[in-house]
């Protein structure tokens, strides 16, 4: 197999002295430079040789996949909606419809009609408007928690994988600890503590508290993944070359390792957005998440469950809002996984 051949030709790093290593890798580098120079001096360049950047390759692959394009468009639409929702939502979403506003008797619990395409909820608020406005909270929690757990997980994973030894042992045991915690239960407990107790975090808005908790308890899987991939990359020649050229640890980690393990991180981060949105709605549904004063898909859903027998559309429409975003994110994650996989290079 190819792998065993490589092992035959390449002397083990540990067998060589520092000087020998330097010469060994320097020979590669000078050869590369020599090749580059000859190409430059050549009169004609083969047009097929021009290499695309990594990002361009990935972008082209995503564009070939129509499902990925549609889910990406949907995600962009939802993010834009979350930022600019106030332009679509006239007035306050909390505007309730009194009895006098409808000839059908009462503005609350309306079925779908032309004035309110999704109907109204039990307090007479337009459900379409609520869902449009709720995209802000849901996307904030989804994207925010993904960013937080990525930062923590990637940091710990990189440090553990790069330094190894007892540093890795400590970090990975801590990761095991976080991974063994029943996530939903501890999230519920922590939310309960912050909202019921008299801690300083009381003053933070609930969505921010939720995204912090989801981020702070959700990084362990990422950390494990990054640790494993870092250790794989560490065996590559370019890391050894960079070390021989006396690159600092920071430079090696940030310039040489991180770009090369970016693919799985991007996929995990994308899927993390779906987890965040689902968890926000789930926690709210259980009564530990956003209070009714915050507009989010979770609160619309939870309000609807009170009269699920007569007006199931209130719950189910909010559920579908969550479902569509989760599906778009999952599709996008799958497409990214395929697009970022170097083994599938055509």
């Amino acid at each position: 197999m190819e792998k065993s051949k490589v092992h035959q030709t390449k002397p083990k790093r540990s067998d060589m002295t520092k000087k020998q290593q330097r010469e060994f890798y320097a020979s590669f580098i000078t050869r590369d430079i020599a090749e580059t120079v000859t190409i430059r001096e050549g009169t004609e360049l083969d047009p097929n040789l021009s290499s695309e950047s990594w990002g361009r390759t990935v972008w082209n692959r995503i564009q070939e996949n129509s499902v990925a394009v549609h889910s990406l468009r949907y995600m962009v639409f939802i993010v834009l909606l979350a930022i600019f929702y106030s332009a679509f939502v006239p007035g306050s979403v909390f505007t309730t419809l009194g009895i006098e506003t409808s000839s059908l008797g009462g503005g609350s619990d309306q079925y779908a009609n032309l004035r309110h395409p999704f109907g109204t909820d039990s307090t007479g608020r337009d459900i379409l408007m609520l869902l449009l406005a709720g995209s802000y909270t849901s996307m904030l929690v989804g994207i925010g928690s993904a960013i937080i757990f990525l930062i923590i997980g990637v940091f710990f994973g990189l440090v553990a994988g790069y330094y190894g030894g007892y540093i890795e042992e400590i970090i990975m045991r801590f990761t095991d600890f976080v991974l063994a915690i029943p996530f939903l239960l501890i999230a519920i407990l922590a939310l309960h503590l912050i909202k019921e107790g008299n801690s300083m975090l009381d003053e933070l808005p609930t969505p921010v508290v939720i995204l912090l908790i989801l981020g702070l308890f959700g990084w362990a899987g990422t950390s494990r993944l990054v640790d494993a991939t870092t250790k794989q990359v560490l065996n590559e020649e370019y890391i050894a070359a960079a070390r021989t050229l006396d690159a600092t640890d920071r430079r090696i980690i940030l310039r040489h390792i991180l770009p090369n393990i970016l693919a799985p991180i991007i996929v995990v981060g994308t899927l993390g957005i779906a987890t965040g949105i689902l968890s926000e709605a789930g926690l709210t549904f259980l009564g530990f998440g956003n209070p009714a004063t915050v507009v989010s898909w979770g609160t619309v859903l939870t309000n609807g469950t009170d009269n699920i027998r007569l007006h199931p559309q209130q719950t189910i429409l909010a559920g579908f809002a969550v479902f569509f975003v989760a599906m778009a994110v999952n599709l996008l994650g799958d497409a990214l996984r395929d697009a970022l996989d170097p083994r599938l290079k055509r």
């Binding site: 107790g197 709605a281 699920i308 479902f323």
Partner: protein, 378 residues
Amino acid sequence: MSIKPKIPPSHLDIDTMSGMTEDSAISFTKDPNNKSSNSITGIFSNPMFVYIVRRTLVLIPLWFGISIVTFALIRVSGDPRDQVLSGRNTEAIRASLAERYRLDEPYPVQFYTWLKNFFTWKFGYSGTFKTTDPSGQMNKIIWETAKLQYLALILAIAIAIPIGIIAAKNRNTKTDYTVSTVALLGLSMPIYLTGYILIRIFGGGGLDLLPTGGAGTPFIEKIAAQKFDTGWQIFWYIFKDEVIHLILPLIALTFFQLALIARLIRSSMLEVLNQDYILAARANGISERKIIWKLSLRNAIIPAITFIAISLGTALAGAPITETVFNWPGLGLNFVKSLKARDMAISLGITMIITTFILVSNLIADILYVYIDPRIRV
């Protein structure tokens, strides 16, 4: 390298068909010294045994760490008396309640008392069950959750493995797309959406075929005893009632679990089918059926088995939402209830029971991982 059409019974021989490189051949040749487990020293030098013991010992500090964190979170979150009293707030009642909840003692003593109660399966005073010894109720709710979750897991495995294999076998055909779509729907659909759609279709207001909440009709034993005389008939009546109540939550849960396992099986099967040894097996004229169901599956199922082992624990942790939707009297619903009622004994007990399940299932996954795949060195 040789392809054996018949799989030898010993798990160690899987590799004669799978890893074909010299490298991997060396790695799973075991040291003959380690195989002798006749004497006691033989057991201790067995790497598998040492591995299991080491993994088990790691769990103990983890368990205590999580129990301390949970205890702190619950204890700090508020005075359990506030919820119980709600108005009748006299000093005498407060003092008597403090005695009942053991609130006057310092935190370490309270923790120790709780720990002792947990290991003797007593849990302490429970406000939601209104008893000082809620062990009977705890056993019941553990049984209800385990019944639902594990039945769903078994059903999901039984469906997911065949459809995952079929999808991988017919890659990029309509069958594959259908399976992938179903798996994606199951993965993205939150259980409250699936649950409420099912309730709306099959419950009252829809077809009105199935009960939509609870694990059984209340007082079913009495009703059955009035209707029937023989023990067999009573048992059958109660059993039918339980099965009817199980159907909807089971469908919702299975749909979710199935999606995860089917995707896993499909992707690992695709990877295995691209391997050289499958090509060699095909070249040797081994029937397609044997290649798929014997040669590939043995390798493709490894990630799925570890995942399933982990699910034995994590399935319980996801219970609160499912059980709230279907009003299922299990660990999840009671956790939510006890937390809202500030019933420390129950919420702490449930968290630690689920944690124990998770830790043990992780241990099982770790052991199975090494046991199934001898290429992984201990």
